[in-house]
Symmetry: C2
Subunit: 320 residues, 2 copies
Amino acid sequence: VAGLVVLAASALAQSDPLPSWNDTAPKKAIVAFVERVTTQNTADFVPESERIAVFDNDGTLWVEQPMYTQLAFALDRVKLMARQHPEWKDQQPFKAALDGDMKALAAAGQKGLAELIMTTHAGMTVEQFQKIVTNWLATARDPRFKRPYTDLVYQPMLELLAYLRANGFKTFIVSGGGVEFLRPWTEQVYGVPPEQVIGSSIKTKFSMRDGVPILLRLPDVNFVDDKAGKPVGINEAIGRRPIAAFGNSDGDLQMLEWTTLGASGPRFGMLVHHTDAEREYAYDRQTEFGRLDQALEIAPDNGWTVVDMKADWKTIFPWE
Amino acid sequence: VAGLVVLAASALAQSDPLPSWNDTAPKKAIVAFVERVTTQNTADFVPESERIAVFDNDGTLWVEQPMYTQLAFALDRVKLMARQHPEWKDQQPFKAALDGDMKALAAAGQKGLAELIMTTHAGMTVEQFQKIVTNWLATARDPRFKRPYTDLVYQPMLELLAYLRANGFKTFIVSGGGVEFLRPWTEQVYGVPPEQVIGSSIKTKFSMRDGVPILLRLPDVNFVDDKAGKPVGINEAIGRRPIAAFGNSDGDLQMLEWTTLGASGPRFGMLVHHTDAEREYAYDRQTEFGRLDQALEIAPDNGWTVVDMKADWKTIFPWE
Ligand SMILES: [Ca+2]
Ligand SMILES: [Ca+2]
């Protein structure tokens, strides 16, 4: 009998597509939504081709504290490139980056940050940059968890991505981060192929160099995929309106509005609220990275589900 | 016995995935390439996720004479909008458009053409524009064949798209035309969903209007997906290099270079050469729309397949 109980429990566990979620309201809302749009011969049924789900990345799929991973990458690149740039020792924002002086870096503002990003992200071909990112991710470690950054993804969100795909959804990433910083690893880590990743970008230029075609990355902003840029990026890349959107900050507000408001049929909007300082981080209105304020305020009125990480997630990371 | 022969012939016909292609060199090259990249445990095997094929649209998938279909759409829009713009009767380039004076229109140049496109394509939401395109296509007729424009697609290319997809390829359209002019109908006509259509675009702006989110189309060029813009657009939207590219004009030259040159593994490049004035049109170096000159010149050196429509295509249109 004990054997039978174990077997039954195991079968039950296997039949739960979201085992890392507690049986609280967010999980119930997700499952109810998916069942609603996939039940044939009902008014709310949505054909597979229209089952588009969009996910923010930083703070929604992986950790964004103590700073955006792409910023950690840029700072490491500055240190590496400094060998060829002795003048950076006395020149902001590079000095701040080299000293790890986050206060001076913040003082350099958007302009300083843009200069850092352009210097470290441009001037090579797209394929060279892809290799640089891949190599960095293979060796860099997060300061708190001492693990590769690609380990710091949320197990409940991995399950959610897989659950939606198993139900005929096409899953897209819509990130404020650089699209070419994400594409080298999103397929392996999230199951999201490069062509389903939307993000910020710098301009590229095509030319033939000694009979070989290259795309050179230029130090010019092409597109900023954040805030009101997210619906624009979604429309440009996908050309249809998503029916589900998942984010964690005010940068996702317009993406959630575009997905859930004023369109016919069932819609789903969700915000991940970081409430677990012990297992991950706790922050919302007072943070440099991933501020969540206005979106949290209007979530109830818009029917958006808010995930309380501490209460709603049984597990945070895949390796726990 | 006669019955058996009919059955065998029918089975044979069914087993040919490209029945509208004559058994000439292009068909053989296509089939050889597909078999090469799909045969497992060989050096040339390409995993499904990397089987990306890109197709130009005007002149490659559908007719582009006597003018680009999108230009015919713009001219019809000018006529419709002229009711609210009595001043256009004496104002270029609108006067030329209203009079159907193609010579005066050509004289207005790129600037005049851009003005026509902006006036007719901007100032509404993306959803309103989608409806305008759909309604126009439902009623407009091609001047020569007296058929809906979406009937003027090439049957051999429809078979090629389906053949590639049946072999695990993901098929994309990469057009110099406007992406939002294409997306309303490419899924139905070509089996290519909106998120696999890349094209030129104008800027859009997100805002909330009376609690409803809208994306407004602005009279500003966002991206020109032509010539050296095609590899840029491909990289931006797909993020990996295609292994097969299909075009018909010098506007596709860089896309074919990017796809076929300087990268490892099997690659396929093809140009459709319009050689059949009787069944369709015959043009290459001397045409306003779809000029094919330099790309035709360098095709042999680059190993690109050139389709001679008259000799290589058994059928041109699906309704023949
Ligand atoms: Ca975020
Ligand atoms: Ca063309």
